[in-house]
């Protein structure tokens, strides 16, 4: 039988800030976007929506920078979810040239 006194105490993890959960933020962001979609599409198509995923608050701007600026006024330290309204986002072809999945589209 194991001697209780010989058990090693479980060490407490140090308090460190959480690393942003990239997949979690995207998943939650898309879920919230689906909830608000009917309110903002198609009237705001082409603009950007920035979502704070914990409070589910969202901010709309004509540009990504504008929408993020509005969100950061209220949530300066949060990592936000950013999406273009009504459209998919593609990456610049100059960035894409390095990406294997782009396979010479351009």
């Amino acid at each position: 039988m194991e001697n209780e006194e010989q058990k090693q105490p479980i060490s407490k993890s140090p308090d460190v800030p959480d690393v942003p959960d990239v997949k979690g933020i995207i998943k939650k962001g898309l879920e919230i976007y689906d909830k608000i979609k009917e309110k903002i599409e198609p009237a705001e198509n082409g603009k950007y929506v920035v979502i704070e995923t914990e409070s589910e608050k969202y901010f709309i701007g004509n540009t990504r920078d504008e929408a993020t600026g509005k969100a950061k006024d209220e949530f300066p330290d949060k990592v936000l979810f950013i999406k273009r309204i009504g459209q998919i986002e593609k990456i610049s072809r100059h960035v894409a040239l390095d990406h294997p999945n782009y396979a010479g589209l351009f």
């Binding site: 995207i26 540009t63 990504r64 920078d65 593609k90 990406h99 999945n101 396979a103």
Partner: protein, 131 residues
């Protein structure tokens, strides 16, 4: 405000100054890409050197239909002696040396491109001048 045509690759570029959470600012060449949605994409090396802070996460769609996360970082950009805060997209390729500047970065300006003489200039639009 003058840009230039790079003699090495013939592409139109402009030198911009960027700053993150560290006090140092860094001057880098940025390719002027009219097909770039958004204001700025930066190589990972530059983002790390200036201590840029992660501000947002998005999702981009690739040509094959797959999606991947896109990270955005808060960066202060100095153009024409005017500082503005932008959300710079990360260029993941560690060998990338050049920033990519999109239309949003130059929104108040008119871009004049003389392809014959290889001149790139940005001038303030009439609306901005009268403000």
């Amino acid at each position: 405000m003058l840009g230039y045509f790079d003699q090495k690759d013939g592409n139109p570029k402009i030198v911009i100054s960027i700053k993150g959470t560290r006090r140092i600012s860094k001057q880098i060449p940025a390719l002027f890409d009219t097909g770039h949605t958004g204001s700025l994409s930066l190589p990972i090396i530059d983002l790390v050197e200036i201590g840029a802070k992660l501000s947002g996460i998005g999702q981009v769609t690739l040509a094959d239909g797959n999606t991947k996360p896109q990270l955005y970082f808060s960066v202060k950009v100095m153009i024409d002696n005017i500082e503005k805060e932008v959300e710079a997209a990360l260029i993941e390729n560690p060998e990338a040396k050049e920033a990519i500047a999109g239309l949003e970065l130059f929104a108040p300006y008119l871009a004049i491109i003389d392809f014959n003489n290889k001149i790139l200039r940005f001038v303030k639009s009439k609306d901005e001048k009268t403000k």
